[in-house]
């Protein structure tokens, strides 16, 4: 492929072209092969230092990034909100300036504030990889979702993808929308009206108020975790009602195409947005998403590192 990656940061799929997204996906295919070998480690980032700065709690994304970094032979520093200097009142920027002064190459950041990685990338020379910033963006999650779709369906363009749940507060939904639209998929979003803003119609997404209609023609159904705090904030009456009206269960599965993929970024609220039988059933690709996440993150770190001075 002629295309050359030129960005030192991965902030959002909104910033990427179709070619850049495909470049990551194709690179990830190569790294997936590495993960299937007996010797899973490559020297691609030997001598590079990566800082994992998780200002907001995370388990699966952090573990996935760490493992990806280890398999690329990078040196790793892990920082989180509890052990870092934030407790002493240092600003995020000052913390990162210190890290930069130690000649770190890449910062992988998870933060609760939308745009925090964009802010850092503007102020710093290190590579910045967004591991989730508030409700704004979670590019590697969307890339691994799209990677999985492409692997399973052989294409992305022309597919009908339904994203169901708390769209308003979901960085996963936003990143998926950008990525999927750029690759030519048709995106439908559904869920409680309080959590599925009509504004997304402005970017070419179909907003569907009837779950069955959203499911009927879907080739892919991506379910989002529903958070209990949204109930307390008055967005819907109860998780019981949510499960009944918006959950995927044996009743709603009647409307789902037999070859539709069931996806979830995890962690799953079993019995709320997704019934156990379906989460563990033949249409579910939830664990394959996790596997692919490793390859996608290796690809992202590899490409970003290649653009550092």
């Amino acid at each position: 492929m002629d295309f050359t990656w030129t960005k030192k940061d991965l902030l959002s799929l909104y910033d990427l072209s179709r070619e850049e997204i495909l470049c990551i996906l194709n690179t990830a295919e190569e790294f997936k092969k590495v993960s299937q070998r007996n010797l899973k480690k490559v020297p691609a980032l030997r001598g590079r230092t990566i800082v994992n700065l998780f200002v907001e709690p995370s388990t699966r994304t952090r573990v996935s990034f760490e493992l990806a970094e280890q398999r690329l032979s990078a040196d790793i520093i892990n920082m989180n909100a509890e052990t870092s200097s934030f407790r002493k009142g240092e600003t995020l920027l000052d913390t990162l300036r210190n890290i930069q002064a130690l000649q770190a190459d890449i910062v992988v950041i998870r933060h609760s504030a939308p745009g925090a990685p964009n802010f850092l990338s503007r102020e710093l020379n290190v590579g910045v990889v967004n591991a989730g910033d508030g409700a704004h963006s979670h590019p590697t999650q969307a890339l691994l979702d799209i990677f999985t779709i492409r692997e399973k369906k052989g294409r992305v363009s022309g597919l009908n993808v339904a994203i169901v749940g708390d769209i308003l507060h979901s960085r996963v939904a936003r990143s998926n929308m950008w990525g999927l639209l750029k690759l030519g998929a048709n995106v439908t979003i559904a869920g409680p009206a309080t959590l599925v803003p009509r504004e997304f119609e402005g970017i070419g997404v179909r907003v569907c108020r009837d779950l069955k209609e959203a499911l009927r023609d879907a080739d892919v159904i991506n379910l989002l975790r529903i958070q209990h705090e949204r109930q307390r904030a008055g967005f819907f009456p109860s998780t019981g009602e949510y499960a009944k009206v918006f959950g995927i269960n044996s009743e709603t599965m009647k409307y789902v195409k037999p070859d539709a993929l069931i996806m979830h970024p995890g962690p799953v609220n079993r019995g709320v947005e997704l019934d156990s039988a379906i989460a563990d059933g033949p249409q579910s690709v939830i664990l394959e998403q996790v596997t692919n996440g490793l390859a996608v993150r290796m690809a992202v770190l590899f490409l970003v590192a290649g653009c550092l001075k």
């Binding site: 600003t91 995020l92 920027l93 933060h111 609760s112 504030a113 939308p114 745009g115 925090a116 964009n118 802010f119 102020e123 508030g134 409700a135 704004h136 963006s137 308003l168 507060h169 979901s170 960085r171 936003r174 803003p197 504004e199 997304f200 402005g202 970017i203």
Partner: protein, 434 residues
């Protein structure tokens, strides 16, 4: 200049919205007091030839945060009034949300004393509506009046208890003090960092619904009608708010409203770069809202342009967008931005624009400011209406630099400012003086 005592400005286009003046004539003063044209001989006076310039009554900014006491790292009475002078403002209304807040006569006296010593323009104190700006109990309105406040406001906060607000409007009427309100339902706006709309949804940012402003605007209209007293809506930002105020004024309810230069010039699309110099409250809203604010200015619904000058240090603003304080500075950009956006784009005539900075605020405050009537203090703003320039924040007199207008291509600016006949700012070329 020979002296400050006598001065004649010649050859300029003179605009005074109070008297309806708009022609080329002389403006002169003696001992800081405006005199009848021709009453002072040129031998005794400084004479400035101001052909090509526009001479106006001194501009009034009804909405300024001077940060003293409490945050003198961001602004002081000295630097804030210097910024005002450079912006063309001869009078500014100082909001009471200092630390401690100006909710008592002593705090007002401090401000007046300090401004008299250090200030370069007139500082009109605004007293708090509620004790500690907490929205729970009435501030000592009578004592504040006696100490010399020009108005009352809990700006930055909004009294949520409608009964308390009702009583305050009623009580303020007895002291002839206009009530200035930052219209915001605090629950609806809670946690928001930008306008709730297309861009907040796309960016995943917590939005502040327009409804938060509109509901309080409606409430204030009702309370103004009940008390038959002035309630002034600060920094209107939403289409529906403008419509509410328009309808209320048509009915003769004593409400008024102001718009800021940033709500005239900018929209929420700017937030996509996560630059905290675009974070303020009320937030930049949609294009539809921006156009409605402009229409409100055009049809006279909004009679005041005010800056909401809100200085913050670079350190305070150089953080994640969620964590940054609200507010931008505005004193030194208001005139170029509004000349560019309203006058040069053909929305307001020059007299109409000048009125928003002079007669408009003077009427709300009920003060005999903002006019060139002989016998009044010689507070003068000289505009250079057509020169093109690029705004550079490094030239500001303000102690802070938190502006979205750095690098803005403007047409028109303030050329000189006189307070009580004394020149407090000038970029007039040397050869303007005879």
């Amino acid at each position: 200049m020979k002296n400050d005592r006598c001065c004649i400005l010649k050859g300029a286009r003179v605009i005074d919205p109070v008297s309806g003046t708009d022609d080329v004539r002389d403006v002169c003063w003696k001992n800081g007091i405006l005199a009848e044209p021709g009453s002072i001989s040129e031998q005794d006076a400084d004479v400035l030839n101001l052909q090509g310039y526009v001479v106006c009554p001194g501009f009034i900014d009804m909405h300024v945060h001077l940060r003293q006491p409490g945050r003198t790292d961001a602004e002081t009475i000295r630097t804030g009034t210097m910024a005002a002078a450079a912006g063309g403002f001869t009078s500014i209304v100082a909001m009471p949300n200092t630390n401690p807040p100006a909710d008592n006569a002593g705090a007002i006296q401090y401000l007046k004393d300090y401004a008299a010593r250090e200030g370069v323009v007139h500082v009109l104190p605004c007293g708090a509506l509620s004790k500690g700006l907490e929205g729970k109990e009435m501030a000592p309105v009578g004592s504040l009046k006696a100490a010399g406040v020009a108005a009352l406001s809990d700006d930055g906060k909004c009294i949520q208890n409608h009964e308390l607000m009702r009583h305050l409007v009623e009580y303020a009427s007895q002291f002839q003090l206009p009530v200035l309100d930052h219209c915001e339902d605090s629950v609806l706006a809670s946690g928001g960092v930008m306008h709730e709309g297309y861009w907040s949804v796309l960016l995943g940012m917590k939005g502040m619904a327009s409804a938060a402003e509109e509901i309080i605007v409606a409430r204030n209209i009702i309370l103004a009608r009940m008390a038959n007293w002035k309630v002034h809506m600060q920094h209107l930002s939403c289409r529906e708010s403008v419509e509410l105020v328009r309808a209320a004024r048509k009915k003769g309810i004593p409400v008024s409203a102001e718009a800021t230069p940033h709500h005239i010039a900018l929209t929420d699309v700017e937030i996509k770069r996560f630059d905290t110099n675009y974070k303020m409250n009320p937030p930049l809203r949609s294009e539809e809202d921006r156009l409605a604010v402009i229409e409100g200015l055009r049809d006279g619904t909004i009679t005041v342009i005010a800056t909401d000058h809100a200085p913050h240090t670079a350190t305070a603003k150089l953080v994640e967008f969620d964590d940054a304080p609200f507010g931008i500075i505005g004193l030194e950009t208001a005139v170029p931005v509004t000349l560019t956006e309203l006058y040069h784009k053909g929305i307001l005539s020059l007299p109409e624009l000048v009125s928003k900075f002079t007669k408009g605020p003077a009427d709300v405050l009920g003060l005999p400011l903002g006019t060139l009537t002989p016998g009044r203090p010689a507070d003068i703003t000289v505009l250079d209406p057509d020169t093109e320039h690029v705004i550079d924040k490094n030239n500001f007199y303000s102690k802070s630099r938190n502006t979205p207008f750095d690098g803005y291509h403007a047409k028109g600016r303030t050329a000189a400012t006189f307070v009580d006949g004394k020149c407090v700012f000038s970029i007039l070329p040397e050869n303007t003086a005879n």
